[in-house]
């Protein structure tokens, strides 16, 4: 009690609360500068360097675009998307009008409903890519986590499967793609397909390339459960299912999540490459089309796509990190 009074009187003597708050704002400032100011400085320096260096690089399509051109093109891409949307809406209204008129004349007439034939815009391609990557990643997770648990629990099986994992893990998406394409076209035949073939091809390629980190991490995590906890499980005579759900899986969740984050990063990279090569809809196709197009704006548009790809990859990783913090017990 007396020490408390001593300190408070000493604070008053030195200008009291003001001095204290100043110290705290100083700390606050140091923190914000680390979290906000320094990254900003980094980005600004990069933009400046880019702005100065870009005009020096000359290509057959003119000089390399600087940040200003890319920014303008980004606005342009957005505008094209808005315009396209308006046209599509008009198209739908016109079609409905016409069909209504035909039906009024002859109620038995067969009316055609066609979707808008315009080319997908940059934003449409982003949406397509996001859907494809999530589908491929979820499929990879659905395969890798259960398989990883089985491998982690059974040493013999692990020894048998491990060489296969080591061999398939480093395979590039470009090598898988032709095989996947052929197999999908041969096996996925239906009158009224639920998915586009190109979607399936991209998705399966993404799955094949991205499941390995999750598979390996799950196996390692499951095999490394604290033996004391395994003994607790045995003493309690937990059933196999309870044992997996209540002991093995929670214990390996942190390391599984690390694998999932790596997998999602790979999935996103692989998808862009697969879309470029297979000409299936998505950001990769956008880049390839612009490259083939070869107009004076192409490079700016490709650069806008590159930045979008990077930013989306970053956001995906952040989402995984947030999810990990919510779910994993060690965070």
């Amino acid at each position: 009690m007396s020490t408390l009074m001593n300190t408070s009187s000493r604070i008053r003597r030195f200008g009291g609360l003001k001095a204290l708050t100043d110290r705290f704002t100083g700390m606050e400032l140091a923190r914000t500068s680390k979290e906000l100011v320094l990254p900003m400085v980094g980005i600004l320096v990069f933009l400046g360097f880019w702005h100065l260096a870009a005009p020096q690089v000359n290509t057959s399509l003119g000089s390399f675009p600087g940040p200003v051109q890319v920014w303008e093109q980004s606005g342009q891409l957005w505008q094209e998307h808005i315009n396209q949307r308006e046209r599509a809406d008009k198209f739908v209204i016109m079609q409905e009008d016409r069909n209504a008129r035909i039906l009024a004349k002859n109620p038995d007439a067969e009316v055609k409903i066609r979707s808008y034939p315009g080319a997908p815009t940059f934003v449409d391609q982003i949406v397509t890519s996001l859907i494809t990557v999530m589908a491929g990643f979820l499929l990879a997770t659905a395969i890798a986590v259960p398989l990883g648990i089985v491998l982690g629990l059974n040493r013999h099986l692990q020894a048998a499967i491990n060489p296969l994992i080591q061999i398939f893990k480093p395979v590039s998406p470009l090598a898988w793609l032709p095989l996947v394409t052929m197999v999908v076209s041969a096996t996925y035949v239906s009158e009224d397909p639920m998915f586009e073939k190109s979607f399936l091809t991209s998705m399966i390629t993404v799955t094949l390339c991205s499941l390995w980190p999750t598979l390996i991490n799950t196996g390692v995590g499951v095999a490394a459960v604290n033996p004391d906890l395994l003994n607790v499980s045995r003493v309690l005579r937990l059933s196999f299912w309870t044992h997996v759900m209540k002991v093995v899986l929670p214990s390996s969740i942190p390391i599984i999540f690390t694998g999932l984050r790596v997998s999602l990063g790979i999935a996103w990279m692989v998808l862009i490459a697969a879309e470029m090569l297979a000409q299936s809809p998505g950001l990769g196709k956008f880049v390839w089309d612009e490259f083939q197009n070869g107009s004076s704006q192409s490079l700016s548009r490709i650069m806008a796509a590159v930045l979008a790809i990077g930013f989306i990859g970053f956001v995906l990783d952040r989402i995984m990190l947030t999810l990990q913090k919510k779910i994993a017990w060690n965070e």
């Binding site: 004391d228 003994n231 607790v232 003493v235 929670p250 969740i253």
Partner: protein
Amino acid sequence: MSKPHLELTGVEMSFDTPKGSFIALDNINLKIKKGEFVSLIGHSGCGKSTVLNIVAGLLQATKGGCILDGHEINSPGPERAVVFQNHALMPWLTVYENVELAVQQVFRKSMTKQERQSWIHHNLELVNMAHAATKRPGEISGGMAQRVGIARALAMKPSVLLMDEPFGALDALTRAHLQDSLMEIQQELNNTVIMITHDVDEAVLLSDRIIMMTNGPAAAVGEDLYIDLERPRNRVTLADDPTYVHYRQEVLKFLYEKQRKLESITPRRNNQTTGTNMQKDTAPAAKA
């Protein structure tokens, strides 16, 4: 005497090691009565944990066997609850959920949900941990976690309670407090207890019987000392009770004269975690 409650006959345990098979235990014979509090004491590495794990069913003896109430033990089960040396709580579950996992498993059919809840709370209160029910093991001290481990074991209503150095990692005050609670609980519930310890005072204070093991390899039961002291026991009044002092010296003589382990005593002096008891104990042993 009727059939013993728990009986080990001719237990031998050998481990396969890269250098060939290693015989840890050789011909252990023990008969333990219902409600008896037995301590296992012996130098580090002599095979105490191995004996406990065989009774728990976590290890299978290579020869001989273990019979509990007329049934051979060949797998672990909740009627032989184990308190592990380093608490072994699931780090992702709260204190309450850790006990709940055990209670859920053992009394799923025989208790209603309300009964289970109050039973979990009762056991947490028994070890004075009800206040931290919502904390995770990472947020409580080692001593607190150890208490939860004990609560979890008691909550299974085991007929045999197996404890591997349950108080080894605790400070002296907490340890004394937990020892007193354990004595009370055991008197009330009349469980059979087998406890491993390095602490001579703890063994004499708590046990009805101290099993002293010879040094490994091929360890066996060296001496079997019955502690005939009134219960409830009080550590303060017992401190200069001549019978208590005599029992204490018996154990010390066994450990430091008959089973003297020259190589291990010197490094132990520097080892603060387990060494404190040993240091304290060697002084009167030298006098005796």
